[in-house]
Symmetry: C2
Subunit: 465 residues, 2 copies
Amino acid sequence: MDKRPELAAGFLSRLRAILPPKAVLTRPEDCWAYGYDNSRRHSLPQAVAFPACHEQVARIVDACNQYRIPLTARGRGTNTVGATVPLQGGLVLSLERMKKVLEFSPENRYLIVEPGLTNEEVQAIAGSRGFFWPPDPTSAAYCSLGGNLACNAAGPRAVKYGTPRENTLGLRAVTGAGLEIRTGVRTSKGVVGYDLTRLLLGSEGTLAIITEATLKLTPLPEATQTLRAVYRSVLDAAEAVSKIMAQPIVPCALEFIDGNAIAMIRGHSACDLPAQAGALLMIEVDGPREGLDSAAAKVAEAARNDGLLDLRIAATRQEVEALWQTRKALAPALRKIAPKKINEDVVVPVTAIPELIEGLNRLSAKYKLPIINFGHAGNGNIHVNLLLNPNSPEQSRKAQDCLDGVFTLVLALRGTLSGEHGVGLEKRDFIDRELDANALELMRAIKRQFDPNGILNPGKLLPPG
Amino acid sequence: MDKRPELAAGFLSRLRAILPPKAVLTRPEDCWAYGYDNSRRHSLPQAVAFPACHEQVARIVDACNQYRIPLTARGRGTNTVGATVPLQGGLVLSLERMKKVLEFSPENRYLIVEPGLTNEEVQAIAGSRGFFWPPDPTSAAYCSLGGNLACNAAGPRAVKYGTPRENTLGLRAVTGAGLEIRTGVRTSKGVVGYDLTRLLLGSEGTLAIITEATLKLTPLPEATQTLRAVYRSVLDAAEAVSKIMAQPIVPCALEFIDGNAIAMIRGHSACDLPAQAGALLMIEVDGPREGLDSAAAKVAEAARNDGLLDLRIAATRQEVEALWQTRKALAPALRKIAPKKINEDVVVPVTAIPELIEGLNRLSAKYKLPIINFGHAGNGNIHVNLLLNPNSPEQSRKAQDCLDGVFTLVLALRGTLSGEHGVGLEKRDFIDRELDANALELMRAIKRQFDPNGILNPGKLLPPG
């Protein structure tokens, strides 16, 4: 186990004065698990702190400023881009024990909570009164609200309901300078001052540490209908996506799997798709029960084209399960075939999906790397998976070149490098291809204002200036 | 006509080198109309420029920086808070001639346009393919898109569809430093870098001048139903608002008029409301035609309580007109009774509306000023109108004290000072009551980064430090 030098004694004794003994870890073996996230990178922190409240967070940030200790705030570490890996060691601030529900006001459609609640716990509270909080990166049972906010994590429902930036009214936070700020409002409208709420959402813990959030709640839909459409080719499926997005019924999920993914699934599990299946769409519509059949029928109509091979609408819970089976077989098949993969989450305008997939196939052939694509087609948000042989360093190098090609392609199609995974470490050195130098310089300037000593999550999100 | 000293000859000749002769005004009589907005304040600019494109804007900002000329960007000046009054003179930059449609992609649900288009022109383009852009501050025919964005203007549909911050994907802009930035994406998701898009929306031209906007479009609903509910008291109406907002059907308008307003309307036009009417709700629901009757019935059910005096659902276009008649009689009656009024647009959580109205009635009695309230109840956004005798300076002073009481009340109810009008000059010196000192200092720091010489809309939005 690698070991870093101990933190300054003065810092540790301040930390121990702020927190009870069980809320500070310093032994490397205890800190180990706080050194990685779902990026599979690892960097050992010298200490881990578990604050119980806003005030403790503020005092810890003060101490880190005094001793210039790098501070990486973290929820449950489910992000895939290294955003919570403590690159320079220092202190990891785990917010997992801050789980208080401060106020639940269904009549006003808001819920004020601390960031340590899991997404599922948030949903349970909201659900008890007929509401939900739309963002869910499909890891609800484990991922924390704080991480969802810091990464502006979205998930499949974003196509209809938006991301945290559309579903958060206000925040309480401690800036990198150790100052408390309250941003936003408790109401669904408010235009007093600059929008600091959205500035913090998606800033990956580089500007401030969120200690409370006022979430905007949405009423749970009465019912949902599930459709599965199978196409001859990606082009046919993409045409359907455009047509679906051009009509008035907005699906609450519009998920896509390409032909490579179908071929892989076919090799690893029972698959009821036609032999010529080249792409698959999973579509869900939700809303009041009355009119939902007709809404599903309209979406189905938009999904129909000459390349449609099969279209099914599930009538029962069992049928819904059966339709999702192919999609759900994807993750285990992927893990089996390619324990090592690079999983990107690029976004292009939906009409550019066919060009994206064609271009990815060309890159796959050129670099002799299998590429499997699936994702949130309604947003044009495609998870591009480069499958690697874990024992081949040469393939890893080729994958980097291929990835470069993927990003070039996405930007040429006027897309963005990340729809929901964020930047972290993984994409940090690529974002200057998407963002212009002036915008990047302003972001650096904003970072300096919030975090003058650069203690918050150093080395993340913004490429070195 | 008051007259300011002429601008430096060097500046004017640079301006004339950038723009054709007809795009620069310098005679006070020509500049006069660019010195005011709907706040009825006036401050004469020394010149008005009409750029035709982004590049001209950038060169003009450069020139203003070189000569330290205050620059106030403006759309059509419909804001009510003095946000476009050139307080320190200098140059007014009118974007009204920048009306190019750069790209319309209904399949990708976006429209890229210049800021000089009116809101109505934007709606017409979007509508030609079955879409709309939800923000509309009810002055669509005249107000400009650029002004809508700069003020984050909202209007009645915000209760269901959100404000510009929820309906804008990206921007092109020239910062106060004269630098071009592009923010955001063309897609409905994107998490690369800090959210500069939302930072500029609502910043009232103090950070940058928006030269292009990528608008997120929404499909036009198939049909709309209109309901009118009359209540014995504001408390009854407010209870109905809370119940409506706690059930799954979100109305696309939920407008409120208080008893004072009804009494006033009664004195000035035919009014079919019951004699005991103490409050009125106008409710609209939209969506697919099928199921809409049932949606309206559910909303009607939520609107029912012991204080309900009358509930009507319009079945024909004529009936819709008839139901809106009382609401529409409000503005002319107000103008007749009180040519001078202070029109605030405070917001409180919807459950706090009764307390707000009660408190306003107390303030009205204390200061002997009639107060008329109406607004967007679904957002808790109430337009509070203090009616003044235009010839009484004493009443003007009392009104200022009363206004102070209004703001204290709103903040005690955990609301915000402005839901859609913005800050400008009118509320500039009040916002430090709502925003904490740390947040305000960060806003000032951000302003310095975007606009180091402080040339953009000086004296607006942020109180002097």
